[in-house]
Amino acid sequence: MIRPVTIAVLAIGGQGGGVLVDWIVALAEREGWRAQSTSVPGVAQRTGATIYYVEAIEAPAGRVPVFSPMAAPGDVDIVIAAEWMEAGRAIQRGLVTPDRTTLIASTHRTLAVSEKEIPGDGLADSATVTAAARAAAKRVAAFDMAALAEQAGNVVSSVLFGALCGTGALPFPRAAFEAVIAEAGIGVQGSLRGFGLGFDAVDAPALGVKPQPPVLPPALAPLGHQAYDALLLRAAALPVGAHAMLAEGLKHVVSYQDIDYGSAYLDAVEAVVREVPVSSARDTVAEAAAKYIARAMAYDDVIRVAALKTQPSRSPRIQREMRGQVLAVTEFMHPRAEEMLGLLPQRAGIAIGRRPRLVALLDRIAGGPKRIRTDTVVGFLTLYIVAGLRGWRRKTLRHAQESARIETWLTTVRTVAGKDPALAAELLANQRLIKGYSETHARGLDKFSRVMAASERLAGRPDAAVWVRRLRDAALKDEQGSTLDAALRTVDSFLDERTAA
C-alpha cells in the first residue's frame, strides 16, 4: 500500500522544533513532494514537551493526499527527539516501533523541574532510555547533538537536520537539505556548520559506546612534599579498596586546612577501620570513612567560602566557562550573625550567642545581603582577609561544634563497626544529609540526627543497614522531610511491634 513518509518531532519549548519542521516541509516541497505539518501550539511551548508531526508523499499529477493530523502509534517512520528523555517519551507513546522507525535523537539532557527539586540525586537514568531505544527502534542515530550545536555556535535543530540527512531515512540528496537551510536565509552559516556536524556524526561509533578510561598512576603516589608524602604513606597502609578515595580525601582536607588536619583525618579513618575485622566489608567501610570523614571535616564555613572565591584557579575557570572576556565578577552573599559568631573563640561565641540583642546588632553591622566585586582590589581583599583566618579556625566556636558532632557520629560508627560493618558504612554515608547553608543546613542536620537516632534503635537487626539506607534515601527525596517522616513511621511500627511482642 502506498503510504506517506511520517515524521514525528519531539522537542522542548524553545528548542527550535518549529524551525526544524519548517525545513523538513520545505525540503519535501522543494523535491516536488506534497507535505503537511501540524503542531500543538499554545502555552505548551513555554519550556514544556511539544510534538510536531510531518507527512510527505510524492503525489502523481491530479492526486491529492489525505494526510493525518497526528502521529499514530506504530505508524511513524522517523522520530526526531531533541532531548534524550523526549526520545523516551516518544517510545512510551508507541511512536517508535521495531518494524519501521528510525530514531534520531540527541542524548543530552535538559532536566525537568521534578528532577531538579529533589534534595538528593533525582536525575533520571539515561541508560533506561538507551535500553528502550535499542528495543523499540529499527535504527538509532543518537549522540550528544547539543554539544555539536555548541561547537557549531548554533542550535540543536540544525544538528538534528544534519543527522536526518545522514541516516538516509529521507530519499533526498544532501545538497537539497543544505539548499533549504540557505533558502531560509536566517543564520545560514551557523546552521550549515551544525548540519555538517550532525551529518558526519551519524557514522560515528554507535550508541552507548564509551571511551576506555585512561590508565591512571597509582592513587597514593608521592608528590614530592615531605610531610604530605608521609601522610600518603600512612594512607597506603589502609585497605587497598579505599586508596583512591583516601587520595581525594587527603587532598581535600589538606587544601582545606593544613598538613596537621590531614593527619587528624587519617587518625579518624584509621580509628574506624581498626574496628572492622579483616573481610571484604573492610574495604567498603574504609572507603566510606575516607569519603565522608573528609567531607565532614571540610565543613562549609565563611573561611572556606572566602578561600574558594579567592583562589588563583577561579578566575581562569570563570573566563573559560563564560566564554568571553569577563569584566566584573559580583558575588551574591548573605552572611548572618550565626556565621560571625562561629568565627569567634568558643567561649566568646557562646557568650554573645546567649544575648539576642547583641546578636541582632552583629547581624545589623556585619550581616545582610552583600554584593562583593571580587575582580576589584577592595572586594578581593575583603574576602582574602577572611580566607586568611584559616590559621585561627581551630579555635573557633564553629570548629568546636563541628568537631563535637563528628566525634559523636564516629563514636556511633566505631561502636557498630565490629559487629555490623555494613551498618557502619551506611552510618558514615549519612554525612550526605548535611549540606547547604543556613536554614537548609539546619534542616539537613535535623534529618541527620533523626536518621542517626533511628539507626541506634535499628542496630542489632540483620536488616539495620538496609533500613538506614532506606531512611537516608527517603530523607533526600524532599525538602520538608515528609518522605522521611513516613519511612520513620514504618520503622517505628515494626520496632514497636517487636517491643510489644
Partner: protein
C-alpha cells in the same frame, strides 16, 4: 510586538487568481477573508488562533490598502459586539477568538447579534482549544450554536476546504440572516498546506458609506416586542433558508464506497483522522478513496434532515463520529432517523468514547468495534499498533524514568521572582489561600512553586476570592496578569474589590504584553506601537477605580523588595484592597528586541557588556534549595565526577540571560554563596584594559603570598 512575526509570510496575502498559496491554516483563513470582500476584522488572541491575530496585525498595510478595518479587541465580548455593523449594513465582518473560553466571554454579544440577525455576512472564526495541547476546560462550541441559533461550520482540516467554508460561511450568513461560526481545531490552525488563490476583493459597501448613511430599524433591536419576533423568525425563516443554502451548494460532502451496507457520518474536522484510521484498516488509501461511504458534515449545525435520511436509506448501520460531549449530533440523528421511520441502526458513543480527544488510534478502535457490532463483512488489515513493543521490559521501564515536562516560566522570566517571593513570604507567615488567574503566571501552580489554589477564568483571579473577603484571620492573595486586567479584570476584580471594601491582596503581574498568547501589545505596554495607543499605566487605572493602597515594583527581580512588599500587604492595618503592581518586561520579548541590537553593536566594534550567572562548583553543596525557588531552565544540575560527592550540583548553562533571579534568591532566602554574576565585555575599552591590568597584578601578588603560606596538593 508579537512573539512571532509573519512579515515574510503575509506577502502571500497578495497572491492573485490562479496562484498557489502555501502556508499555515491561519494565514489561509486571512487570505480567504480578503478574497471574500470582508469589510472589517476584529478579535482577541488566544491559542490556537493567536497567530491569526498576529497575521492580521502584520498585514495591517495590506488590509488598509483594501479598505479593511482591523481591531485588536479588548476582549472577546468586544470582538463579538463589533459584528453589530453587519447587523445593520451590508458589510461582511469577521471576528476571531479561542473557544470555548472566548465564546463564553463573547456570549452576551453573540446572543444579541443572533437575535437581531444580520444583513452583511458575519463570520466568527473559533480556534477550538480541545484535546492535546489545550490549556482550558474541555467543552464544545456546539452548545453555543444550539442555544443562540448560530450556524456552525466544521470544515475538513485542509486549506482548500477551510478556504471554501470561509467563502460559503459569508454567503450562508447572508442567505439566512444569521451569524456563522467557523470552527478550526488546534492542529488545523497550524496545518501547513496549499490551495489555489483568487483575487482579493475590496468590500463592495464601505464602512465610510455606512458612517455617512446611518440605518436604524427598531425591528432589529433586541427589545420587546421585536425580540419575540426574532425568535420566531429564527425558526420560520432563517433556519429553512440556511438548510436550503447548505443543500443547494453541497456544503456537506458524501464520499461513496463499495461497502454500501454501512456508513460513517462525521464532523468535517474529523475527516483526516477517520481516513487515516480507515487506511490503517485497509479500507481507504492515501488519495482519499474509501470503501466505507462517508457523509462529512462540514456544517454541524444545523443538520440537513433530508441528506441524512438519504445517506442512511440503504444502510444497515451507520456510525457517528462526533468528538466531545454531550453527543448533540447523535441525539439529533436519532430523532431524525426515528421520525423518518428509518430502520438503519445508529451507533456512536456506545462504541466510541463519550469524552476525550478522538485520536487516530481511538477512531480505529471505534470503527473496528462498529464493524463488529454491525456485522459488516470486510477484510480488515490487522491492527498495526505498538502494543507489542510497549509491553517489552526495557520500554515498560521508561514509566519510572521519563519525567513529566509541563510548561513553565521561560529563562529569565520576570514572573519567577514574584513567586519565589510569595513562597518565601509563606515560609514566614504560613500558607494563605491564593487565587490564580489565566496567563503565564498560572505556571506558579506547578512545581517548584506550588502556589495557587483556584483559577476561575481570565481576569477573574481576585474576583474568585470575593467570598473570602473580610472577616477574621489571614488575608487572601490573588494574582492577575496585565492581560487579564485589561480583558475585564479592572472592573470584575479590582473595581469589585474596591466597591465591596475587600481587604484582600491582589498582585498584578505586569510583563508589558499579553505574553501567554504570544506577546501581543496591551493598553499598558511600554513600547510605542505604531497603530495602537499604549503606555497607559496600570497604577493610574487601579487608582482610578478607587484603590488607595497601591505599590508599584518596577524590577520584579528584586526578590527581597518583592517579599517585603507582599509581607507588608498581608500585615498592614490599612483597610481596602491591597494592590501590588509587579512590573518587568517579558524576557522573551525583551531578548527578541535587545539581542539583535547587542549583536550588531558588538559586530560594529562597540563596547557591549552582557551579564551572565555562574555557580562555584566547590561552594555548591548539592542541596538544590535554589532549584526549589527557581525552576529556571538555565539553572540545572550536573554530576561533577568528583569522588567525594554523591549528589549533582547546580550549574548555570549558556542559555542564561543574566536576569539575576538566582543570585537574588540566594541572598534573599539566605541559601548559599555559590552564585556569582560575571559581566562579559566585548570590545573592551582602554579603561577596561587598564583597570584589569592593575587588578590582576595586585590580586596575583596576594594569591602568590597565600600560596607561599598554605601548601596545597596539586
Amino acid at each position: 510586538m508579537a512573539e512571532r512575526s509573519f512579515a515574510r509570510e503575509i506577502q502571500q496575502l497578495r497572491l492573485g487568481a490562479g496562484a498557489e498559496f502555501r502556508g499555515e491554516g491561519i494565514l489561509a483563513i486571512t487570505k480567504a477573508l480578503l478574497e471574500n470582500g470582508v469589510g472589517y476584522v476584529a478579535g482577541y488572541q488566544g491559542a490556537p488562533i493567536s497567530h491569526l491575530m498576529d497575521v492580521l496585525a502584520d498585514a495591517a498595510d495590506i488590509l488598509s490598502e483594501l479598505g479593511v478595518h482591523f481591531e485588536s479587541s479588548a476582549n472577546e465580548a468586544t470582538a463579538a459586539a463589533t459584528l453589530a455593523t453587519s447587523a445593520m449594513y451590508p458589510i461582511r465582518g469577521a471576528v476571531t477568538f479561542k473557544s470555548t473560553a472566548g465564546t463564553n466571554v463573547a456570549s452576551d454579544a453573540l446572543s444579541n447579534l443572533s437575535s437581531s440577525g444580520v444583513v452583511g455576512g458575519a463570520l466568527i472564526i473559533l480556534g477550538e482549544d480541545y484535546g492535546e495541547g489545550s490549556s482550558i476546560m474541555q467543552e464544545r462550541s456546539h452548545a453555543f450554536a444550539m442555544k443562540s441559533q448560530l450556524w456552525l461550520l466544521d470544515p475538513r482540516p485542509n486549506l482548500e476546504s477551510i478556504v471554501r467554508m470561509v467563502e460559503h460561511g459569508f454567503a450562508l450568513s447572508e442567505a439566512s440572516s444569521t451569524p456563522v461560526m467557523l470552527e478550526v481545531r488546534i492542529r488545523a490552525c497550524h496545518v501547513h498546506g496549499s490551495f489555489i488563490a483568487k483575487d482579493n476583493r475590496p468590500p463592495p459597501f464601505s464602512l465610510t458609506q455606512a458612517r455617512n448613511a446611518p440605518v436604524r430599524d427598531t425591528g432589529r433591536i433586541v427589545l420587546p416586542p421585536a425580540s419575540f419576533a426574532h425568535e420566531k423568525d429564527k425558526i420560520a425563516r432563517r433556519w429553512p433558508a440556511a438548510v436550503a443554502y447548505i443543500q443547494e451548494h453541497g456544503l456537506n460532502e458524501v464520499f461513496a464506497g463499495d461497502l454500501t451496507e454501512a456508513g460513517i457520518i462525521l464532523q468535517g474536522g474529523m475527516y483526516n483522522s477517520v481516513m487515516r484510521a480507515l487506511m490503517r484498516m485497509g479500507l481507504a488509501d492515501i488519495w482519499g478513496n474509501t470503501r466505507v461511504p462517508l457523509y462529512v458534515l462540514n456544517v454541524t449545525y444545523p443538520l440537513v434532515d433530508a441528506e441524512i435520511v438519504r445517506f442512511c436509506a440503504d444502510k444497515r448501520a451507520v456510525l457517528v463520529v462526533e468528538e466531545g460531549q454531550p453527543d448533540f449530533i447523535e441525539q439529533a440523528l436519532s430523532k431524525i432517523l426515528r421520525q423518518a421511520d428509518s430502520p438503519t441502526r445508529l451507533l456512536g458513543k456506545r462504541i466510541l468514547p463519550m469524552a476525550g480527544e478522538y485520536t487516530v488510534a481511538v477512531l480505529e478502535d471505534g470503527i473496528r468495534g462498529f464493524f463488529a457490532a454491525a456485522a459488516v463483512e470486510a477484510d480488515l488489515t490487522p491492527r498495526a499498533n505498538a502494543a507489542a513493543v510497549l509491553d517489552e521490559e526495557p520500554v515498560r521501564a521508561l514509566a519510572d524514568v521519563v519525567p513529566a515536562r509541563p510548561p513553565g516560566f521561560c529563562t529569565g522570566c520576570p514572573e519567577r521572582p514574584i513567586f519565589s517571593a510569595m513562597k518565601l513570604v509563606e515560609k514566614e507567615l504560613g500558607r494563605h489561600h491564593i487565587a490564580a488567574d489565566i496567563g503565564c503566571h498560572l505556571f506558579s501552580i506547578l512545581p517548584p512553586f506550588n502556589v495557587g489554589a483556584t483559577t476561575m477564568g481570565y481576569g477573574l483571579g481576585p474576583a474568585s476570592a470575593s467570598a473570602l473577603n473580610g472577616g477574621e484571620g489571614k488575608r487572601v492573595v490573588s494574582f492577575i496578569g496585565d492581560g487579564g486586567l485589561w480583558h475585564n479584570g479592572l472592573t470584575s476584580s479590582i473595581g469589585n474589590a474596591v466597591y465591596n471594601k475587600s481587604g484582600n491582596v491582589t498582585i498584578i503581574v505586569d510583563n508589558h504584553y499579553s505574553s501567554a498568547t504570544g506577546g501581543q501589545d496591551l493598553l499598558s505596554s511600554r513600547a510605542v506601537a505604531r497603530r495602537r495607543s499604549t503606555g497607559h499605566g496600570i497604577v493610574q487605572a487601579v487608582r482610578g477605580v478607587g484603590a488607595t493602597w497601591v505599590r508599584q515594583i518596577d524590577r520584579t527581580y528584586d526578590v527581597a523588595r518583592m517579599r517585603a512588599t507582599i509581607r507588608e500587604a498581608l500585615t498592614t492595618p490599612a483597610a481596602g484592597p491591597k494592590v501590588i503592581v509587579a512590573s518587568s518586561e517579558c524576557m522573551l520579548n525583551r531578548q527578541r528586541r535587545e539581542k539583535p541590537l547587542m549583536q550588531a553593536a558588538a559586530k560594529a566594534g562597540k563596547r557591549v557588556v552582557r551579564p551572565r550567572f555562574g555557580v562555584d562548583a566547590d561552594i555548591c553543596t548539592g542541596d538544590h534549595a535554589c532549584m526549589r525557588l527557581s525552576g529556571c531552565p538555565s539553572l540545572s544540575l550536573k554530576h561533577t565526577g568528583e569522588k567525594l560527592r554523591d549528589d549533582p550540583i547546580a550549574v548555570v548553562d549558556n542559555s542564561c540571560v543574566g536576569c539575576g533571579h538566582c543570585g537574588e534568591v540566594a541572598t534573599a532566602a539566605i541559601l548559599c554563596p555559590s552564585f556569582y554574576r560575571a559581566d562579559i565585555v566585548e570590545n573592551p575599552g582602554r579603561m577596561d584594559r587598564f583597570l584589569a591590568k592593575i587588578r590582576t597584578t595586585v590580586i596575583g601578588a596576594l594569591q602568590r603570598r597565600r600560596a607561599a603560606r598554605h601548601w596545597m596538593p596539586a
